[in-house]
């Protein structure tokens, strides 16, 4: 028994010594979780510089009240990709995007769209000055007759910038119709809008009045084809090919109900509504027009304009092209009878052509600047989501020091106590 006890005492002494050696190693060994480097806004570049130069790999904790400039953003992103743990937050920052597209209109002009994730004011300006001040959330659309240079939107915490694209080179518009007031005034408005209009107006069987060179619809020559009645039905197959190849088709009035175009139409079950009013009302003159409205819309059609609860503009994509159904068969009455009739009539047709016409944008070759028109998105792409990543680098097994020390002390005490009880020195 005493022999066994001596063995236990030796073992306890050895184990205690080993524990103490381990504790000594734990205390003396280098490394462990380095402390994070924190910075906000103007101090961020300095922190990034230090993080780059000292190479310690200390985590970065960044706070932003504004979306950082692209250089700072990209720098932080590079450090993150190099393995530096990065945590950031920007409580007041939210998504926003700006785009500028040329209008499909020979008179020129641009459409500026700003989307904001949260309600916030925005001041939009171009190189010539302020364009508009807007508020709210969601999409804001601004139509500007001319935009100079680039468009900038100032939002709380960020600045968005979009560059103006090359102007479009609109092609001709082809009109197929019977001779009548609708075709006559349509051509007049097209010319006033600056469109080159080619037309074939049927006067009698086998006899047409021709304006320009109305050839077979062709995406290389025609931005859009407008059919006002069933006289264009003889070219239905050619029109369908044209649309599928990317052309724009506007079916107005009686043409909306033509069987020849039913495969392309956004809506079916067309019904004709004749207004009881003899004269157009002053306030909403379109209420006095005769319209054709669909009873059913194609599955993928969209309504772009309503009059009350009746669609007046329906649209649908067919192949690479677009087809619009416009309700009114006598829009010419807007021009003759409504208050600012000529302008109203031009706006109606300009709107339809803008939505339907084939006018591909030619992009300038330039360096990618998407970070300018969606800076918050670019920030997320570079830095990751707010909050960031935990430092997951392996630091070795961290042993609990206090329990180890207590265990070693307890073993030594037990060994000493055992020897004292035994009567050993």
């Amino acid at each position: 028994m005493s022999r066994f006890r001596r063995v236990l005492e030796h073992a306890a002494r050895v184990v205690a010594l080993l524990l103490l050696l381990v504790l000594l190693y734990e205390v003396l060994r280098p490394g462990g979780a380095p402390s994070a480097r924190s910075a906000s806004d103007q101090a961020v570049p300095g922190a990034l510089r230090s993080a780059t130069l000292d190479g310690e790999g200390r985590p970065l904790e960044l706070r932003f009240s504004r979306v950082p400039d692209p250089a700072t953003r990209d720098w932080a992103g590079a450090l993150r990709r190099a393995g530096v743990p990065l945590r950031w937050d920007g409580e007041r920052l939210a998504g926003a995007v700006i785009t500028v597209e040329p209008l499909v209109d020979p008179r020129g002009g641009h459409e500026v769209r700003v989307w904001r994730e949260v309600e916030s004011p925005a001041v939009m300006r171009d190189d010539a000055g302020e364009l508009a001040r807007v508020d709210g959330a969601g999409v804001t659309v601004l139509t500007a007759p001319a935009v100079h240079g680039s468009v900038v939107a100032e939002l709380p915490g960020q600045r968005l910038r979009a560059h103006v694209q090359d102007p479009l080179q609109p092609k001709a518009v082809l009109v197929l119709a019977r001779a009548g007031w609708e075709a006559r005034f349509l051509l007049r408005s097209l010319e006033e809008l600056g469109w080159s209009a080619h037309a074939r107006l049927v006067v009698a069987p086998g006899l047409s009045v021709v304006q320009g060179t109305p050839t077979t619809p062709d995406t290389a020559r025609h931005a859009a084809v407008i059919v006002l009645d069933t006289t264009g039905a003889s070219q239905a197959a050619a029109i369908a090919r044209y649309v599928r190849a990317g052309g724009g088709l506007i079916m107005a009035g009686e043409a909306s109900a033509a069987n020849a175009f039913s495969a392309l139409a956004p809506g079916t079950g067309m019904r004709r509504f004749v207004s009881a009013r003899e004269l157009l009302p002053d306030e909403r003159p379109e209420d006095g027009l005769t319209r054709w409205s669909p009873m059913r819309l194609h599955a993928y059609a969209a309504t772009l304009g309503m009059q009350g609860d009746a669609p007046v503009i329906s649209a649908r994509r067919v192949g690479a092209g677009r087809v619009l159904q416009a309700a009114y068969e006598d829009s010419w009455r807007l021009r003759m009878e409504a208050g600012d009739g000529p302008e109203l009539h031009r706006q109606w047709w300009a709107q339809l052509l803008s939505a339907a016409a084939n006018a591909p944008v030619t992009h300038r070759a330039r360096a990618a600047t998407w970070g300018e028109h969606a800076p918050y998105a670019a920030m997320l792409d570079a830095l990751g989501m707010p909050g960031g990543e935990r430092d997951t680098r392996l630091q070795g097994v961290r042993l609990p020091r206090l329990p180890l020390f207590i265990a070693a002390l307890a073993l030594l005490l037990c060994e000493w106590f055992s020897r004292r009880l035994r009567g050993a020195a």
């Binding site: 001779a179 609708e182 006067v203």
Partner: protein, 203 residues
Amino acid sequence: MSEFVFATAMYESGDWDSAPLLPANLIDSIARYTAIPVAPSGVNVPLASAQLFRYPFVWLTGHLPVRFTDAERRNLVAYCRRGGLLFVDDHNHDIDGAFHRTASEEITRTVGPLRELPNDHALYSAFFHFRDGPPTTSHELNGWGDNMVHEHLLHVQAAGRIVVLYSNKDYSSEWDFHPDSKRFMSVDPTRFGVNLVVYALTR
């Protein structure tokens, strides 16, 4: 589809209804020769009323002096500016007569000066072909009025478009006949009326 409605202008100062059978004859010709949807009967529309703007082609004729009221003048200016076309025909075919002198004065004062329309203008080939310009009427040749054959129509242009056409040739007499008489005519005299309407609808 909107149909063509033949409109006759009513003006306060004169006998605007001096050719009551003319509308029916022209309507018949348009329906007979063309595929243009046309209303079976014409309308009479006051020159000073808002209803004038429903009819972008309006016929005006008479024998008596023409003096537009202020309202008629204002309406006519707006009508021409928006795209309307007014056809005026001297029912007297007399350039020394009261209608011609006063009507041409009113037109010049209201919308602009009258000028001769070239005889190779697109109007004369808009449907039927009239190589020599406006067709001569039997009433020009019968010794009535100024006993002259008027070689040209007159017109007022605005923004590159004809807004007023003026005739001394008395088409109002030529075309104001009972519809049953047409079958006895070797050449339908209303064919030029078809040109007028087709031109108005396509230009």
